[in-house]
Amino acid sequence: MTSNLARPDLFDPYEVAQLGGLELVAWGVVEGFLAGLHRSPYRGFSVEFAEHRSYQPGDELRYIDWRVLARSDRLFVKQYEEETNLRAMIVLDASRSMDWSGAERRLTKLEYAKRLAAALGLILLRQRDATGLIGFDEEVRSVVPARSRTRHWWTLAAALDAIRPGGGTAAAPALRRVTDLLRRRGLVIFISDLLFDQHLALLALQYLRHRGHEVAVFHVMDPVELTLEGQPEARFEDPESGAAVVARPRELRAAYSERVQRAIQNWRAACRSGGIAYHHVTTDTPFGYVLRKATSRHARV
């Protein structure tokens, strides 16, 4: 309990959000997250091996590849790809469906996603990765080009703060826009509730993958969307599309829950087959857990 007091990344997201603005919350979450890493066996930000080169006087001895020396009796040092070479783009879904919470004391999906994006951006920038942001709904609403300066995080945070829920969802144009902004191979972090056409979205994500980008999808859901709670009978209306269904949750709960799990599995399987990292996140999950899951699955983050 005492340790948790110093670990806002492990707090209930809603409670954490009450502590201050988006920047402060993201900062606190990341600080807590990074502090936790030192106490864990996880080694964190390993740099990526690039190539061998002949040893030159002045090179640090710790980079000598001792295995190659043993096999060939020649000195080679391992050369790593520098972190600053990575360019990351966070693509945030700000459609109307994201602006919804299933409980009074719970963040909306958009609020949660914005804080998650801020935390991820801060971590990336701490690694000196150039990080940008695209916010979209039915069209691209805001674009922050990727920069690696530490102060850039404040730009990202301000942009995130300024994002307001829009209308429909059009993910494909936003993802295509990423290709314009990331000329070199990079990392694309796609945060959305994925309530749109799966086929089109997957095509766009796979296109990014084919362009050499690493892609991570954060599927954000409210817990209520998993279980279907509410009145004995209600007319459920989609705030985004206007589609409506009259249903009795008690009668459909089991089948609905099964249907949602099936959809999650479909997304997971489709992403996996396309080499895309998939993370299912509910808005009551502490940010630290999400960040840990993300970093454990993806070396760049």
């Binding site: 109307r96 469906s97 994201m98 919804w100 999906k109 509730d193 309530l195 859901m221 969307e225 279980t227 279907l228 509410g230 009145q231 009978e233 209600a234 007319r235 459920f236 209306e237 989609d238 705030p239 985004e240 599309s241 589609a243 409506a244 269904v245 009259v246 249903a247 008690r250 009668e251 459909l252 709960r253 089991a254 089948a255 609905y256 829950s257 099964e258 249907r259 949602v260 959809a263």
Partner: protein
């Protein structure tokens, strides 16, 4: 076949519509809630809609059936389970109604035949240990065995007399209640006329009342009487027709076997047939109407006496009102003035109408004259007041319907005499002894309002023609009714023979309707007995359940053919379906609970 003991409860079947109504009410637009994941819900609803519709339909059917079962159980359903079922020893009272109305022929068959058929069926179900009492239209309670009862019932013919069903049931109730058997039951097999029920104690035993499912249309002669009672130069017969027939019918008056008057009337009409008699003395007549389904009430027998007008002598002591009224009667041919009956304030002659003298001092003289004639009649003190005069001697003269009553303002107290013909203030006012009729008041306006009333002349007509000139004794009776013979008569003689009086001077009216003449020992005619049907038997409208319960109590029930078979002997042939229906309702409730909670359990299991 299922019947219901509490059919009113079936009104609750309307409640079976409640699930359907709730189902339609549930079709209202529910509150809207925002929910982004509607696409998953749409998919789910699409996949599950068929199952949900089936489930809703099943629940609707189950709930409706549940309510229907509960309502049916509340209506106490019973079913026939066949004849010959065993039953506890029963004291059975059986009323087989062969009264006049049972002679009606409907659809080519007598009502009595249907009643007898049902009676044989009931008797056939008697067990060895049962006891049976039978009452028919003669009103006699007979304790019989099964075989004797069968013979008795088979031999029944309609009797032209009335059976009081209320009285018959009460008689049987007393009898069966005294029987040392476990069960007591009374079965009434009758056309159950509404007019056949007299009020009285309710029955303690269970009473089942059955009637044939037929209804006759009837027209009857309800009454016929001669006016005046003694005809002189002419007379009238007043006839009343009853029944429920709408068709007019011919009404004929026959005297001495010859039709002397004819008319046409409908049921409910009252008609007057004028007659000019051609013979003197007693004559038998009959009023007939056209035959219909019930023949026994189409005739009405009456006796008429045709006599010369009474001869009357009015003395000055009678007063001027009497003298003038008798003059009017003389002009009308109702009396002849001179000789015969003497009307005076003294006793003169063998047949005298005497009024108190206007001079009170002469009352003593009058009493001495009465005593000298060996009479017990006496005139007492004179009193004043206001009294209403009423009595047999005024019959046909005054009535409430005629507009008022004779008021007496001054009178002498009377004592002695053979018969009190009228009273005033409860005391004798008109008394007869032998040929003397003594009236307590003078017929003058300061004694009584009679002389200035409209019925003064008819009163004197009756006084001299019927009372003073010779009493006409006509007695009406129903077949089998006890009748007291008039003074001097020893028998009643009719077309089928004579009925001798018993030691107490009474006879039983013959069963055969007709005119019977009272005959004295010397062969002189002392009056007539008119034996006719009871007009209440002509009213064929059946009684309803409310009247039956009001008369016999709540244990009495009207039953049809099937219900009688089922309910007989405490419902031995009846299966009570209340419990099965309740069990069925319980099973339906359990199934409903399972179906209703199926979705919840599925949810819990999968979560």
């Amino acid at each position: 076949m299922i019947a219901f003991l509490q059919p009113l409860a079936l009104l609750g079947l309307a409640a079976a519509a409640i699930p359907a109504i709730l189902h339609f009410l549930a079709k209202r637009v529910p509150p809207t809630v925002w929910f982004p994941a509607v696409r998953y819900l749409e998919d789910t609803e699409r996949e599950q809609s068929r199952r949900l519709k089936l489930r809703h339909l099943l629940l609707l059917i189950l709930r409706t059936a549940l309510i229907v079962c509960v309502v049916l159980a509340a209506a106490r359903p019973v079913a026939d389970v066949g004849l010959g079922s065993a039953h506890p020893p029963t004291a059975l009272g059986l009323v087989v109604d062969n009264s006049l109305s049972s002679a009606a022929i409907v659809e080519g068959r007598r009502v009595l035949d249907r009643i007898v058929e049902k009676a044989l069926e009931v008797i056939g179900k008697l067990a060895e240990q049962d006891q049976l009492w039978v009452v028919t239209a003669d009103g006699v309670v007979r304790r019989t065995g099964r075989l004797e009862a069968l013979e008795l019932v088979r031999a029944l013919d309609p009797l032209p007399r009335r059976l009081d069903l209320g009285q018959a049931v009460r008689l049987l109730d007393r009898v069966v209640s005294a029987a040392p058997l476990a069960e007591r039951e009374i079965v009434v097999l009758s056309d159950l006329q509404r007019t056949a029920w007299s009020a009285g104690d309710t029955a303690g035993a269970r009473v089942l009342l059955w009637r044939p499912a037929v209804r006759a249309v009837n027209r009857s002669v309800d009454s016929a009487r001669s006016e005046p009672s003694v005809w002189t130069s002419h007379g009238e017969v007043v006839v009343a027709l009853g029944g429920n027939s709408e068709i007019p019918a011919a009404v004929r008056l026959e005297m001495n076997g010859r039709e002397i008057a004819r008319s046409v009337a409908r049921a409910g009409d009252r008609l007057v047939m004028s007659v000019t008699p051609t013979r003197r003395g007693w004559q038998a007549g009959v009023v007939r109407t056209d035959p219909d389904e019930l023949r026994l009430d189409d005739d009405w027998y009456l006796a008429v006496r045709v006599a010369e007008p009474a001869e009357v002598t009015v003395e000055s002591g009678a007063g001027r009102y009497v003298a003038e009224a008798l003059e009017v009667l003389g002009e009308g041919g109702r009396v002849r003035l001179g000789g015969g009956v003497i009307v005076s304030d003294r006793v003169a002659g063998t047949r005298t109408v005497v009024f108190p003298p206007s001079d009170g001092a002469l009352v003593g003289n009058l009493n001495r004259q009465l005593a000298a004639r060996g009479l017990t009649l006496r005139v007492g003190e004179r009193i004043e007041g206001e009294w209403r005069a009423e009595g047999e001697g005024l019959a046909g003269v005054q009535s409430e319907a005629a507009g008022g009553w004779i008021t007496v303002k001054k009178r002498h107290r009377l004592s002695g005499g053979e018969a009190v013909l009228a009273r005033a203030g409860g005391e004798p006012w008109m008394v007869r002894e032998g040929g003397v009729i003594l009236i307590g008041s003078r017929l003058e306006e300061d004694w009584t309002d009679l002389p200035v009333s409209a019925w003064f002349v008819p009163f004197l007509d009756v006084l001299v023609n019927r009372l003073a000139a010779g009493e006409v004794r006509v007695v009406n009776a129903s077949p089998g009714e006890a009748v007291r013979l008039p003074p001097g008569a020893v028998r009643a003689v009719g077309p089928n023979g004579a009925v001798e009086g018993d030691a107490e001077g009474a006879i039983t009216a013959p069963v055969e309707p007709g005119v019977y003449f009272f005959v004295g020992a010397a062969g002189d005619t002392a009056g007539a007995l008119q034996v006719n049907h009871d007009s209440r038997e002509s009213r064929l409208d059946p009684v309803d359940a409310r009247v039956v319960r009001g008369t016999l109590g709540t244990r009495a029930r009207l039953v049809g053919d099937r219900a009688l078979s089922r309910e007989l002997f405490g419902g031995a042939a009846r299966a009570d379906l209340t419990l099965p229906f309740l069990l069925l309702a319980l099973a339906l409730a359990a199934v409903e609970l399972i179906v209703a909670s199926l979705g919840t359990r599925q949810t819990a299991g999968k979560e």
